[in-house]
Assembly symmetry: C2
Homo-oligomer: 175 residues x 2
Amino acid sequence: MASKISATEAAVLGLLTRGEMSGYDLQREAEAAGGFFWAPTKSRIYAVLPTLVDRGYATSREVLQTGRPNKHLYTITKKGRAVVKAWLEEPPVFEPERAPLLLKLYFGDLLPPEKLLEHVRAMKTQATSLKKRLEEHPDRHDAYAELAYTHTLEWLKALIRWASSTERELAQRLR
Amino acid sequence: MASKISATEAAVLGLLTRGEMSGYDLQREAEAAGGFFWAPTKSRIYAVLPTLVDRGYATSREVLQTGRPNKHLYTITKKGRAVVKAWLEEPPVFEPERAPLLLKLYFGDLLPPEKLLEHVRAMKTQATSLKKRLEEHPDRHDAYAELAYTHTLEWLKALIRWASSTERELAQRLR
DNA sequence: ACCACCATGTAACAGGTTACATGATTAA
DNA sequence: TTAATCATGTAACCTGTTACATGGTGGT
């Protein structure tokens, strides 16, 4: 009954419920979702796929090709579906943010205040551009994906607000 | 010039700038900060300390004790200070949240809507209790630590708002 | 009697990144 | 001619978690 899978394995299996795919396809799918909630490296994907087959969560067939490596197409099995479903139903683990910026702030007394201000501005810039990317994002797949997108959007808005007010505060301290 | 250090190493060195400490002390410090931006396991700390000494970022001396393992006290060196400072000055890497909940939402069509609602409620509960812990938190060390705390607080508030509105939306869909 | 505190660590495992290696096809 | 797309993977490394192992002191 164990059948523990990692978030990455769950994501792979989740995408496979939408149809037969290759490792290459999976990575494109993840990119298409903007890398907002899952951003695997290809080596990880290619490492994971065979282990899913080994455990009976997917089957694979090889498509012969010329001029490039043969393609391996993976199909999710009933067992695989059951396992993702089980993973999805587990209560999600909640953890506080552990971004490097927080550590840099926490030890702020160790560096010049201008540097800190720079960091806050940099993060605001990045959050803003990510927000733009997200808002312009085409692949709103379905109503559920939409929920995930809004979540990220609200998070970004909060960050930007925080950055703006912190920026003001730090700038004031510099005067 | 390489001298790359990880976030954990930076955190350890950062704390060591406040005085001589043992591995045990370091963990207590991290806990005292509420584990909000750094939550190392002890095995990690004990693994990291000797490597800092090897690289000349800290020195250690042993305090003999009876009835318990000898204590190792670590002191940061000049080189160590330079290295943390360099790490702190590097522009922080910014990354979108990659919480499991987002994946569960994204694949929401694979599970019963009540389950999803449950997940959202669970996360709201946890965020709320974390917020309470944070607000009641005594060790506001200095103005910089304060900035880090506000950051986390704003993040939590945004999550809770999002959870509330999502809860309503999902509940409506269930009717 | 029991629990929290003090204080160290090792070993096995899991998860993930970076760099390397190969090479044809097709559109601008 | 240059870049993107297609398509696979291996090897080395880094970071981190979980479980195990030990045992005295001091307070309720």
